[in-house]
C-alpha cells in the first residue's frame, strides 16, 4: 500500500478498496515502526483518525473533493490549531497555536488527513536537519547520512513511505535540497503562489511553501489544493490558479532546456554530473533541445543570500521574547535580562549566529555595505534569469553539488554547509519556481535534477518532470530497510 502515489490512493479510496481510516492507521503504524529516522516531532493518532472518519463520511455521501481522505505530513513550521507547533526550536517547544496556517486550512478543507508534524532544522535554518532541537533526522537510504534540510523530516517521511506526501517550505533550497538528498520530488512554487499566513517566518522576501511527494503528478494534485490568493498574506499574489494536472503528459518536442555553465563547473561532484548528463539525454530523446546559458552572477548568490536571509530573520525572530508565547527563562534580573536570557536559552547556535549576523548587517553604519549591497546584487541575479529565459523555456542542472553527506561532517564548517545550497538559492532570490526530481544514484545515494521555470510556470515544470518520470523509475525506488 505504501508504495502507492496520491493519485492511486485517491482512486482506491473512491472505489472503496479501503477506507481513509484504514489508510491513516496503516501509515500511523509505519510511523511508529520506523521511529529511528526521527522524521516526526508530533504525532496524534486520535486526531488523525478523527479526520479520517470525517473523510470517510464525506466519501460515503459522495461529498468529497479530489484529495479527501489522503494522509499528509506537515512540516512543523506551519501553525496547526490545537496541535503543538515547535519549528523544531526550544523557544516554541510548548507552543500550541490558536489558529491554522492557510496551507493547513486548505488541506483540511479539502478533506486531507494530517498524520503529524515533521522534524526540520530549527526555524528552517540549516541544510542537514542537524540544527533541530529534537535531534537530526536520518537519511532513510543510509542512517549515518543527513537527509538534507530544512524540510528533512517531510522528505525522509515521504521516501521511507511513512506518508504519501508532505508539506515543506523553501527559503534557500529547503524543499528541493532534501528532496534531492532523499530521492523524492520537491516543488517550490513561485514566490507568493502559496500563502505564508501561519507559516512561521524566517526570511519573508524568500520564504515559499511547497510540496514533497513521490511524483510530479502528485505535486500537481497537491498544488491544486495549496495554491491561491490569500488576503491574510500581504505578499500573496492575485494571479489565477490553473489546474496543474491539465498539462501533464504534453509532448516535450521543441522544448528549449537552458543549462547554466556555472552549474556544471569544478564545484560539482563528477559522479553527480554524470547522472545529470544521463538524465539530460532522456529529455533529448523526448525531443527537447539543450542550450548552454550564462548566469554570470551565480557565484554571488550564496554570499548575497547570507546577508538578506539573516537580516530578515533577525527582524522576524525579534517576536520571540518570552512574553506572548513560547519559552521564558526561569532566572532573570529585569525585563531586558529576561529577553536576553529567554532568547539565548531558547534559540540554538545556528539561529543565534544568523540573528547576530543579520542584526549587524542592518545596524547603523553597516546597512549600505551589507543589506543594500545584497539587494542590488539580487536585482542583477534576477536579471540574469530574465535574460536566460529569452533563450530557453526551462533551466536544468543538479539540485546539489554532492549526494547526502555524513551526519556531523559539516557542522563545524559553516561555509561548507552554506555552499550546499549553491544551485538552489538563486530561485529564491529571483522568486522563480523550481522542482527537484530523482535522477539516479551515486554510491547508493540519490541525485536530484533541478528544473527552474519562469514566473508562474509551475504547470510547465511539473509536466517536464512528469514526462521524465514516465521514462524513468528513479522516483519509485524505496530504501531497503523501508520496503515492507
Amino acid at each position: 500500500m505504501h508504495t502507492k502515489t496520491i493519485k492511486r490512493l485517491c482512486a482506491d479510496l473512491n472505489a472503496g478498496e479501503y477506507s481513509s481510516v484504514e489508510l491513516a492507521q496503516y501509515y500511523l503504524d509505519r510511523i511508529q515502526r520506523y521511529q529511528s529516522i526521527n522524521a516526526f516531532v508530533t504525532v496524534d493518532p486520535e486526531f488523525t483518525l478523527s479526520q479520517a472518519r470525517e473523510a470517510d463520511k464525506a466519501i460515503r455521501k459522495d461529498k468529497h473533493k479530489p484529495l479527501t481522505g489522503i494522509p499528509i505530513a506537515h512540516k512543523d513550521i506551519f501553525c496547526t490549531k490545537g496541535m503543538l507547533t515547535t519549528c523544531s526550536s526550544k523557544i516554541l517547544s510548548n507552543f500550541v497555536p490558536p489558529y491554522d496556517a492557510t496551507a493547513i486550512k486548505k488541506c483540511k478543507d479539502s478533506g486531507m488527513v494530517c498524520l503529524g508534524k515533521t522534524n526540520m532544522d530549527e526555524f528552517a535554518m540549516g541544510s542537514s536537519n542537524e540544527t533541530s532541537y529534537y535531534g537530526p533526522v536520518k537519511n532513510p537510504w543510509n542512517e549515518t547520512m543527513v537527509p538534507g534540510g530544512s524540510s528533512g523530516g517531510s522528505a525522509a517521511a515521504v521516501v521511507a513511505r511513512l506518508a504519501p506526501a508532505g508539506t515543506g517550505t523553501d527559503t534557500g533550497g529547503s524543499i528541493r535540497q532534501p528532496a534531492a538528498l532523499c530521492g523524492i520530488t520537491g516543488l517550490k512554487p513561485t514566490y507568493g503562489r502559496v500563502s505564508r499566513y501561519g507559516m512561521i517566518a524566517f526570511a519573508s522576501s524568500l520564504d515559499q511553501a511547497g510540496t514533497l511527494t513521490q511524483t510530479a503528478e502528485d505535486a500537481a494534485l497537491l498544488l491544486n489544493v495549496l495554491a491561491g490568493f490569500d488576503p491574510r498574506d500581504s505578499t500573496s499574489v492575485e494571479e489565477s490558479v490553473p489546474d496543474y494536472t491539465e498539462n501533464l503528459g504534453k509532448d516535450l518536442a521543441g522544448l528549449r532546456i537552458g543549462l547554466p555553465k556555472q552549474y556544471f563547473d569544478e564545484g560539482l561532484d563528477p559522479a553527480v554530473e554524470q547522472a545529470i548528463q544521463e538524465s539530460l539525454k532522456v529529455f533529448e530523446r523526448l525531443g527537447a533541445a539543450l542550450i548552454e546559458i550564462d548566469l554570470p552572477n551565480s557565484e554571488l548568490c550564496v554570499p548575497c543570500y547570507y546577508v538578506i536571509a539573516p537580516s530578515e530573520a533577525s527582524s522576524n525572530l525579534s517576536r520571540f521574547d518570552g512574553v506572548r508565547y513560547g519559552y521564558r527563562a526561569e532566572d532573570y534580573e529585569d525585563l531586558d535580562d529576561m529577553f536576553m536570557r529567554t532568547r539565548s536559552e531558547g534559540f540554538g547556535p545556528e539561529v543565534k549566529r544568523r540573528i547576530m549576523i543579520g542584526t549587524y548587517a542592518l545596524s547603523a553604519g553597516y546597512y549600505d555595505a551589507y543589506y543594500l549591497k545584497a539587494q542590488k546584487l539580487r536585482r542583477l541575479i534576477t536579471q540574469d534569469f530574465e535574460q536566460a529565459f529569452e533563450r530557453c523555456d526551462v533551466i536544468m542542472g543538479p539540485t546539489t553539488p554532492t549526494p547526502a553527506f555524513e551526519l556531523g561532517a559539516k557542522t563545524e564548517d559553516l561555509i561548507a554547509m552554506y555552499l550546499n545550497d549553491i544551485y538552489t538559492i538563486s530561485a529564491n532570490l529571483s522568486g522563480l519556481p523550481g522542482i527537484s526530481i530523482p535522477s539516479g544514484f551515486v554510491n547508493r545515494l540519490p541525485v536530484g535534477l533541478q528544473i527552474i521555470g519562469s514566473y508562474f510556470a509551475e504547470a510547465l515544470i511539473l509536466n517536464v518532470a512528469h514526462r521524465f518520470q514516465m521514462e524513468t523509475d528513479w522516483h519509485q525506488k524505496v530504501p531497503e530497510g523501508f520496503a515492507v
Partner: protein, 95 residues
C-alpha cells in the same frame, strides 16, 4: 573583516541575545568568517543598480481599514507564559 569582542557584545545587546564571556571568542571567529565570506559581494560594481526588495518588484497590497478579525484574546493568551486579567505579565519596569 574581523570582529572584536566589543562589537560582539554590541551586536548581542542589539539582538537581545545574552553572550557569556566564555562564548565571545567563538562568536567573534564564526561571525567574522561569515562576514569575510559575504564580502565577495564587493567583486561586483552595483553603483547604478536599484535595490530589489521583492522578487517581482511588486508593491505590497493595502487593505481597507476595516475590522475583520473577531476578538480572540483568551485563545491567543492561552499560549503565554504569564497572564493575569487579560494582561501579559512581565518583570516590573517602573519603580
Amino acid at each position: 573583516m574581523a570582529l572584536d569582542p566589543q562589537t560582539v557584545y554590541r551586536i548581542s545587546r542589539l539582538a537581545r541575545i545574552h553572550v557569556d564571556a566564555s562564548e565571545v571568542e567563538r562568536y567573534a571567529t564564526e561571525l567574522s568568517s561569515i562576514l569575510e565570506f559575504v564580502d565577495q559581494m564587493n567583486k561586483v560594481d552595483t553603483d547604478h543598480v536599484a535595490p530589489l526588495s521583492h522578487p517581482q518588484d511588486r508593491v505590497l497590497r493595502l487593505r481597507e481599514d476595516k475590522v475583520t478579525e473577531t476578538n480572540q484574546r483568551e485563545d491567543l493568551q492561552a499560549a503565554a507564559p504569564a497572564v493575569e486579567s487579560g494582561l501579559y505579565l512581565v518583570p516590573k519596569v517602573i519603580e
